[in-house]
Subunit: 359 residues, 4 copies
């Protein structure tokens, strides 16, 4: 038995722990081979980019960020393009992928990825490629699993930044605005905000009113707390307003501009007349050594995926429910987004502490 493994989409801390768990348990428990496919599904297109993976070749990767297999950010994975006669053309490459899986002598694939990557995986499965999925997103927004690895590491990184900003904000009587990841959901902002002692948290799920934000900051000032920490998710938006725009040039490169953070900072400065500083954490949140929690979850996912594979339960994805590792059909896996409930227990607990969501 020979298994192909690939990682797709944005990287998340814990990917290497998953790969390691698959390689180790495939050897120890099932004595079968693993072939690493490089750079997501790109590595399965001709000419294929693969390499044999053994417990020896993956030594030392458990505590590392990133993915040793490389990845590509497939923005819209169902509409893949290929250069034909020097021109980018939209083509259906599933046939080629399937053919290469067979030619490599693979019994099937374990695909680790988010939304987009898992949709391709499901597609391939339906075309007859035996496939198992493992969910990955630092945003923690996949409804089919309670938690995804990488999320806690991202929250850790954002919280550490908030801890550091606290002392300087307090020493200087400043407002510090921190833009964190979360284009569609506010989990990172919410958890880092609570853990980092934020005074205001702005998330996509709760459209904010800037005057409510300023009111909170001014009230704090008047009570003697002459500084405030404001956490803003990338996708936070004013009531009735637009999403922050991700600029993407035609020349093919994407430059992420910290849009909403700077905008919120500017408005707070204008309205409170206080000294405001803005920090855009950016991709720091994707990196770093995974927390023990993420390493363990990733390891459990890897072992469980290998078990599903050995049992021939293709078309399924591993997931976590409570503290149980279980599985769901791949097709279910990618349905919708798991939003922060605007009146859930976490948000209400935050409000009980006096944190404002700008509503």
């Amino acid at each position: 038995m020979k298994i192909g493994v690939l990682t797709g989409g944005g990287d998340a801390p814990g990917l290497n722990a998953v790969i390691r768990a698959i390689v180790k348990s495939s050897k120890v428990k099932y004595n079968c081979e693993v072939l690493g496919i490089e750079e997501g599904f790109d590595g399965l297109l001709s000419p294929v980019k693969v390499r044999a993976m053994t417990p020896w070749t993956i030594r030392g990767i458990l505590p590392t960020g990133g993915t040793v297999l490389g990845t590509t950010s497939t923005i819209n994975p169902m509409e893949m393009t290929k250069k034909i006669d020097g021109k980018e053309q939209q083509v259906d490459l599933s046939g080629e992928l399937k053919k290469n899986v067979e030619e490599l002598g693979l019994s099937g694939l374990i695909v680790i990825g988010g939304d987009g990557t898992l949709k391709i995986a499901d597609n391939l499965y339906k075309l007859g490629v035996p496939t198992i999925g493992i969910p990955k997103t630092i945003d923690n927004d996949i409804p089919a699993t309670d938690v995804t690895f990488g999320f806690q590491t991202a929250v850790n990184t954002a919280t550490e930044a908030l801890d550091k900003l606290h002392t300087t904000a307090e020493s200087h009587h400043r407002v510090i605005v921190v833009e964190v990841m979360g284009r569609y959901v506010g989990w990172i902002a919410l958890e880092a905000g609570i853990a980092g002692g934020a005074d205001v948290i702005l998330i996509p799920e709760i459209p904010f009113q800037i005057d409510q934000v300023c009111k909170k900051i001014v009230a704090r000032y008047e009570q003697g707390s002459r500084f405030s920490i404001v956490v803003v998710a990338e996708g936070a938006k004013p009531l009735g307003g637009e999403m922050s725009v991700i600029k993407r040039s035609e020349t093919g490169y994407a430059l992420r501009l910290g849009g909403i953070g700077n905008k919120v900072g500017e408005e707070i400065g204008g309205c409170t007349k206080m000294d405001v500083r803005v920090t855009v954490l950016g991709h720091i949140q994707r990196g770093g050594s995974p927390t023990p929690y993420d390493r363990i979850l990733a390891t459990r996912f890897g072992v469980a995926a290998m078990d599903l594979f050995a049992q021939g339960r293709f078309g399924e994805m591993v997931c976590l429910k409570g503290d149980e590792i279980c599985s769901v059909p791949l097709s279910e896996a990618t349905r919708g987004l798991k939003f922060v409930p605007a009146d859930g227990e976490r948000v209400r607990a935050a409000e009980a502490l006096g944190i404002s969501f700008g509503r």
Copy 2:
């Protein structure tokens, strides 16, 4: 309404986050007063040691370890002693505690503690003192709640130590034995061991055979991995053997000697003839800034306890089930220990990676 808050037993990262959440939400949501009781139940004995707590007095404590209220390690809380006529005598002090609660004008108590502390809390509740409990143990061994705050921070600290020991073990072809906390349960050893890439994990729930341990280490050596990392819980014991003894002198001081770690190290050295080093992490595992997860859980517990108090649901303890904050009767709270299932999914996943439990 005036609420008394106290922390009892060993300290755990997150205690200050709980205290902060109670003080803040009592003010923001219920506009009532909080009185901090110092050094556990000791502070409720005459002369009482208390101080008013406001959002102002608890500024900055969220990311700190320890407890600003102080605590005492009540080994057997049901048999309290007091100096009477210069002699230690066993007395029932519940009456005194109750009287002082009344004299301080308290509407009741929120008690944060482990096993022993919560038993006193339940006792007081039954004597008519309105009491709410919040579970605390870095060992994560309370059955009534899925997780306790402080546990993940302890796992983090132990994992960081393992990460550091890995490079030195590998560079030198050494066996490194790390003794971690866990006198009765092996959760810290298990999770840190998986997260830190241990080769052997010894826990109280799975009695070990030293020859199985050495066999694993020698097998690794022969396959080219000429180092091994062995994680040992304080309470690990050989098959058929005795618990490691906690030395306690008659003069009233306790000196924790890293018993089992040194013993296991000595035996491995003798049997494999390899270079062995032993590290006893000790109380480092209790300290440090709580992880974001622990800060959030502690905060949610604090807010929920305050809600229970406001609703008059005395005699209950907050807990976590899945991702839900809920509550159970205090009497249930302290029943038994939550052991690592010797054949549970985590242990089996660890074994699938090749980790030996010495069985």
Copy 3:
């Protein structure tokens, strides 16, 4: 003897360690009193803001960032303004400061601050106020001392960010641009860049040519390293170009926009057609727990300043030369800036590793 202590200018990790060392050594070694002056020289204007400081009141501040005394960022300290008849007017307040020092019964001042703050200190000294200075700047740009506390902590924070960005850059074949502090000097960028394995470092002292930067990135890509890390100091500027502008509105608030980082990122994206991401670290670099090195240096500075005070050596500032604590006249202390030598050993060592400075 009663000594006034104040901190001025931007905060730096280690300020609290200095304060603690002054308070502790003044008590232990000289048995004299310390009065903390709040918010820099503002606290010495009428009505004064002061508080008594004892070893008891400063417990626990050693590992904390910020300053317990508060501070103000005096942009141009020699031109202080005061509201007179509801209007901001430029006035000479040295007389008022001096008078308040006397009325508080202070034997003199220990002033901890940067450039601007130390200039006021020197001025006060010349007016007859017994004053000792302690240098502070995270930029490490004061010529009179080899090292200032806070600098290493800032380098640490920036290096940690680079470590995290490495894995994600590598997994995705991206160019990551990180803007770090350093408006006039490039020490943080240089040291964090070397320590964090940057491929390009842009500093104010070495004007860069963007095509040299892109050439380096493309060369790496062609040799198989399909990602690059670019560290940019705030004050980096293109050859023949302008300083990045710090926007400052007329309404009195300052909003720091990560100017040069975004600009460099945009140009690299345009010219290499690679995927570029920008991170602006901002004030994170000012915060956080000081590194042991900074705590020790700050402690030594504090003790030495107290010694100078006791010896009546007013008008001097403590400093570090090699590993020796020594002192210089305050007037010398604030002369010029310590720039990165464009052909010094560090820059040449970096170039020997293949790091490009864009020249």
Copy 4:
């Protein structure tokens, strides 16, 4: 030109940064080859263990602890032994080393190591092998250089442990004893002790009196600080007493028992009747990612050693004086130990804070 590189003795954080700097600068600046020799001088004995090193093979090692080349702890390097006819015999292997250097076609060696390793290097140089040395010791005890890499990382690790122990000591009114590395010199204990806010620091250079230690702890207790942190270097010894013994069995394995820490803890417990806990940090101090300072120093050393090599300045060792990289003869390099001056500025500063050295 082909250069052999090896690392010997105990590992220290920064070794990989040195190796990387040599490999990168040899390529970028001198375009010559590097051969990595595995496991110290062992790799130069027949059969040799070597591998080619290129910028590609050393990717990613900058932030890692340990040494990718492996090392051996040569306790007494001048008396090497070899198995001849199944028996360990003392032999002079310099001839074999020299022969292998020639057969590998090496122009010479760069040797990174401590005391013992550098003595062999000097010996080889005198036998005609072109050799450059780089000093390495986490103890910072080599007189010929102001600082060695690895030291600050070790101080960091010990300080982090002290930070964590502080909160738990304070919450519980405990005495916590922490044994840190330093068999002959007390630099780690001294610096970590000052940085971590220790109350007592015991180092080899200042023999302690246990009653002075207890007096300090009791005095603190009586003034309201009912906890104390005691840092003990491995090699600390009572006035008139013996060094703590390192147990070494005849069967060839060494088991480090935390001798002096436990002993001091026991005596403090006995004499103060307070609750005492002991932590033995052990090899954690050797591991972990090097601090930026250590990465930069290691990088500068590596580049400078390569420069010396290219200039044919064999028999020299790189070193740091003030902030200058310079060099000294290898023979000078290993003369004596750099002790903590018992009445130096650092110790006196510590005493001015109230820290006791037990004298």
